[in-house]
Subunit: 347 residues, 4 copies
Amino acid sequence: MSERLRVGIVGCSGYVGGEALRLLLDHPHVEVTQATSEREAGKFVYFAHPNLRGRTQLKFRSAKQTEPADVLFLCLPHGLAQEQIGRYAELAPRIVDLSADFRLRDPARYARWYGKPHTAPEWIERFVYGLPELRRSALKGAQFVSGVGCNATASNLALKPLVDAGVLDKARPPIVDLKVGSSEGGNASSAGSHHPERSGVVRSFSPVGHRHSAEVEQELGLEGVQLSVTSVEMVRGVLATAHAWVRPGTLTKELWKAYRSCYGNEPFVRLVKDRSGIHRFPEPKILAGSNYADVGFELDERSGRVVSLCAIDNLMKGAAGSAVQALNLMCGFDERAGLGFPGLHPC
Amino acid sequence: MSERLRVGIVGCSGYVGGEALRLLLDHPHVEVTQATSEREAGKFVYFAHPNLRGRTQLKFRSAKQTEPADVLFLCLPHGLAQEQIGRYAELAPRIVDLSADFRLRDPARYARWYGKPHTAPEWIERFVYGLPELRRSALKGAQFVSGVGCNATASNLALKPLVDAGVLDKARPPIVDLKVGSSEGGNASSAGSHHPERSGVVRSFSPVGHRHSAEVEQELGLEGVQLSVTSVEMVRGVLATAHAWVRPGTLTKELWKAYRSCYGNEPFVRLVKDRSGIHRFPEPKILAGSNYADVGFELDERSGRVVSLCAIDNLMKGAAGSAVQALNLMCGFDERAGLGFPGLHPC
Amino acid sequence: MSERLRVGIVGCSGYVGGEALRLLLDHPHVEVTQATSEREAGKFVYFAHPNLRGRTQLKFRSAKQTEPADVLFLCLPHGLAQEQIGRYAELAPRIVDLSADFRLRDPARYARWYGKPHTAPEWIERFVYGLPELRRSALKGAQFVSGVGCNATASNLALKPLVDAGVLDKARPPIVDLKVGSSEGGNASSAGSHHPERSGVVRSFSPVGHRHSAEVEQELGLEGVQLSVTSVEMVRGVLATAHAWVRPGTLTKELWKAYRSCYGNEPFVRLVKDRSGIHRFPEPKILAGSNYADVGFELDERSGRVVSLCAIDNLMKGAAGSAVQALNLMCGFDERAGLGFPGLHPC
Amino acid sequence: MSERLRVGIVGCSGYVGGEALRLLLDHPHVEVTQATSEREAGKFVYFAHPNLRGRTQLKFRSAKQTEPADVLFLCLPHGLAQEQIGRYAELAPRIVDLSADFRLRDPARYARWYGKPHTAPEWIERFVYGLPELRRSALKGAQFVSGVGCNATASNLALKPLVDAGVLDKARPPIVDLKVGSSEGGNASSAGSHHPERSGVVRSFSPVGHRHSAEVEQELGLEGVQLSVTSVEMVRGVLATAHAWVRPGTLTKELWKAYRSCYGNEPFVRLVKDRSGIHRFPEPKILAGSNYADVGFELDERSGRVVSLCAIDNLMKGAAGSAVQALNLMCGFDERAGLGFPGLHPC
C-alpha cells in the first residue's frame, strides 16, 4: 500500500463525495486517507453511504482537520472552493475541484451566470476543465482540474461530433432538452424533493436560462446554445436530447462517420444507434454506476433536422467518474483504472 | 346553496385536510366555508393542493379565525385536538376529528401507546370510532366522530370476516404485514422522505410495536394482534397482508360465506378473489382517490393457514373518505354522497 | 333512465375504451348499453377494467353483435374504423371515432403519414376534429366527430396561444419535445413494455418524424413543426415542452395576455405559471383521471426564446375526456357533464 | 489468459445468464468462451444485455454447439437441466446449474412441489446446494453445484441465526413475508408484466404454498415454514420479513450475539441494525448489483416476537452472485473474486 496515492475527499458526505469515495476505495493506485464532513464528523462514512458498510472503517472528520495528501478532491457546495483554494493548495500538490467554481475560464462569464464576482480569479487559469473527451491532452500531468456540470457534460458529448465535423447550421443554435433524475439536486431535502411531491413528476424546473449553458458555450465554442431541464422519475441519470440543424441533404452515413471519428477511440463513449431491439438509442437507466456516456442520433435527411442524444449517470460521467478519469490522466495511470463497473441490466 | 351544510376544515394544508377538501367541494349537500392553515394563511388553497386550481377561490385562514359552522373537520397533528376540543365544540355542533386523539376508548391504552396521558379524557366517550363498516349504527346521528388509522383500517377490514365468523385460532393471534406508501408520513419533508433516499425502497420502519395495533385490538376485540409496516414505492395506498390461522380442515367455501356475510351489503367493500387474470387479489394502485376497500383471501385448507388481504387508499378509506362516509351517516345523507369516484385503470 | 342517451362503446377492452366507459357510466345524461371486445367477449367489463368492479354488471359482447344506439364510440385499432364506418353509421346517428382514421382532412396527408391510402376518403369531410378548444362551434350539433392524438393535443394546446397572437417567428418552426407515459402504447404487452425493461426509462422512441406532427400542422396551420417523443417512468400523462421563438423584445406580460385571451373562458384549460412553490409549471402527475390541460410558459425576453408547456392525461384530454366533452357539445349538454373529477394530490 | 478457467454459459440470454456473464467477464481467473441462446443465436451478447456493449464481442450460439469447457453454468428454464445433465457433464468436469432442478435432495419432495417426477434422480445426490453461507465446506472442491432460489435464500439467511442458536419456538413455525421485484419473473413479457399493469403494484401473487418453502425446510431443517410473496415496484431485489417467535424473555443482546456468531466471518453478509439514521434495517435498493445479503432484526422482548430481515439482489446473492461465489469455492479461488461491486447510493 505504501506506493499508493494518498487521496483526501473534502465534503464527502454529499452524493458526489460519496460516489468519489466508492470509486477511490476500489481504485488500484489510490488509498483514501481522509474524508471530511462538518455535519457527520466523527461518524463512520457508511452512516452517510450505506453501500460502503463493510468496505471501510474510515470516519468523517471536520474539514478543519484536513491533513496533507497527494491529491485532494473538493466536493464542496458551489462558492466555497474559490474561498479556500489557497489553503487546500498548500495541503496537496494536486486538486480536483468538483464544484462549479473553476469551470468557467472567463470571470465575467462566471459573474453573469452565478450572480456574483469570482473571489479567486487569479486561480482560474491554473485549472483545466475536467472532461477527458474534451481536454485529454491538457489533463495529462495537470495539477489543478475542475469538475464538470452534469447537464453540460451530456450536452457537450451530444453536440461535440456535430461541432467537430463543422456541419451545424450556425443560424440555428441547438436546443438541448435534458431529462434528469433527483440526485442532481444533492442530498438536502426540501419541500420539492419530498417523495409524495417528487415521485412520478415530469417537472420543468429550468425552461430557459440554465447555468450549465455557459459550460457548453465555452467548451464547444458555440453561441446561443439553450438548455431546458425537466425532472423525471429517476434517481440517477441524464438524457440530453439535442435538437440541432445541419444542412438539408446531409446524409445519415456522413453523420455516422463524424460520430465515429469523434468517439471511436474513447474508452468511455459508446455509440448506440441500432435498427431494432429495445435499446436502439442511449438511455440512462443502464448506466447507473458506470462511467459510460452513450451517444446516438437520428437525422431527418430531407429537412436537416438532427436529434443527437447522450445518456450518462450524472454522479459518474457527470461528476465523480469523470473526476477519477481525470485523476488517472493527471497521474499517468491507465485512464480506465477504478472505473470498470459496466452498469446493470435489468435495473 | 342555502340549504347546504356549512363545513369548515381546520388544518387543511396537509394531505388529509386537502383530501377532505377535494371531497367536500364536490359533495352535493355541503358547502366548504372555511379552511385553516397556519403556514399558508392568506394563500389560495390551490397553492397547497394544486389539483384544486380552478375549482375554488377559497383562501386559507389562521385557525384562530375559525368561525361557527355546522360541522368542523379537524385535521390537526396528533395531540392538538384533545387540547382544543372544547373550543371547537363551541363553534360547531358536529365534529369529525381525523387525528388519533379520540380513537381509543380507554385512556390507559392511549397513554401506553402514545407515551403520555390524554389531556381530555372526559371527551373520549362522546366520540364514535369513525369506520362505518364497524360502527354504522352508532355513527347515525352522532355528534362527535373520530377518524381512523389507515393501517388499522386495512387490518380491521382484512380480519373482520374471520372474527365475525368466529373461526380464528385464538392461540395464534394474527400477524398483519402492511405495505404502505409515502403519503402516510404526511407532507413534511425529512431526510428519509428525500426522493433519492425514499424512491424504490422496501424499508421496514416499524417491524414491531406499531401504534395502530391498539385500534385493531380495540375494534376487533382481539388480543396480541401484531402489525409490521414496510414502506414501498407508492405514494397512496396500503396493502394489509394478514397472516392468520383457522381450524385445519376449514374449507375455502366456508370462508367465502363468511366474507360475503360480512361485506355483502357494504357500499364500499368489494370482494376480490378471482381464479385468473391479473387482478386476482386486492391491490391498492387502482384505488387511488376511491373510497373502496378491496378484500380477498387465500386459504391453505390442509394447514388452516389463511392470508387475508385488504387494499385501501390511506387518504381515502383510511382517512378522509371514511370521514365523509361517516359525515353522511351523521347527517342522514346517502352514505355514498360525494364518494363516487371509482379509481383509475391503468394508473 | 328512459331519457338517457343510449351509448355503445365498440372496442371497449383497451385503455381508451375503458376510460370512455368509466366516464360514461357516471355521466348524468348517458346510459351505456353495449361494450364490445373480441378478446374478452362474454366476460364482465370489470375483468378488463378492475376499477369498475361493483359499478356495472355489463358484459363484453362481440362487435358483430353491436345493436342500434343513439351514439357509438369507436375505440378500435387504427385502420379498422375507416373500413367499417358505413356499417356503424347505419347503427347510430352519431359517431365518435377515437382512432386516427378521421383526424386528417387531406387524404394525401393521411397516406403520407400512415403509409397507405385511406379506404373511405368520402367520409373524411363529414368528420369534425374532436378538440373543443379548437373546434367548439363545429362540434355543436355535429354527427361525426374524430378523436384526437394525445401528443398532438398537448402540442396544439401549448402552441395555440402563440399562433393565435401571431407572434411566432415563422422562420423557426417550433420543436415540441414530448415526455410520455406507458399507457400511450395501449394494453398489448411487448418486449419493450416488459416491466424490468420499461421501468425507469428515459427512452427516445421517436426522435424525428412522429405521426402526430400532421395533426399539429393541420390544426394550427403551421408548417414544419417537429415532434420528438421520449418515454419516461409514468403510466398516464404527457408533458409537451414546446421550444418556440418570438420576436426578440416581446414581453412576458404580452404573452400572458395572449394566453389569457386564448384560454380565459375554457372550462378545461388552466394557466399555471407561478413565481414560487413546487407547482410553478404544468405537470401531468396531478392530472391523472382529470380532463384538464394545464398550460404555462417561460420567456427569455432578450432572445425571444419561449418554452410553452402543456400537461395532460393522455387517456383523458388526450383521448376519452375530450371525446366526452365533444359528445356534450354534439348533444347540447353542459360541456362539463361527466368530467368533474379534478385529479389527485398527492399522487 | 492461457491459465484462466474456460467457462461457458448455457442459456445466456435471460436475466440470470446475463448477470452471470457480467460477473464472469470481469472475473480475474475466468475467460468466458461460450454463451448460448436459441432465441438470439448469432447476435452479439450485448443485444440482449445492453450494459455489456463495448465489453465483449462474444456472440450467442445455439446450445447444440456447446463445446467442451472447464466449467458450464446452466441457466436454463426449470426442467431442462435434468433432461440434459448427462450431455453437459460430458462436456465439462464442473457444472453449476442455476435452475431449480438439483436443489432439493429428496425426489419425493421435488415431485410434490414441482408437480411431476424428477427425470434424473440419480444425479441429485451428486449436487451440492449452492449457498456458501450454508454449505461452504461441501462446496470446496465440489464438481456439481445447484443454484439457489432467490426467495429461499433471503428466507434462509434471515432465519439461520435463530435456527443455529436454537431459540425458535417450534410450535409456531415462522411466516416469511417476501417483497420482490419484477426481474424475479424472468425476461418474458406477459399481460401481468406489461408496464401500465405492473408499475406501482403491491400485488400478492403467492399468498400460500410458494415453492421455495421446500428449500427453506430442507436447508434449515424446519417444518411448516410458510412463504408469502408480494410483488412491489422494484426491478431487482427481495426483502424477506420473517415473523418468528422465540421464548418470551429472550433479550435483544442475546439475539445480537446469535447473529454475530452466525455471520461475523461471512464475507457477503452484513448486519444492519442501527439506532438512528435512514438505513437502520436491511433494504434491497442499495444492493442492486452487489453480492451482499444485509441481515437485521427487531425483537419485542416481552412477547418473544421477532422480525428478522434479509435483503438481497435476487439476481446476485439470489442467483448469479452466489453461483460465482460457489465457483470460487469449487476452484479454490479467493471467495470474493469477481464480486467486488459494493452497490450504489443513492439509486
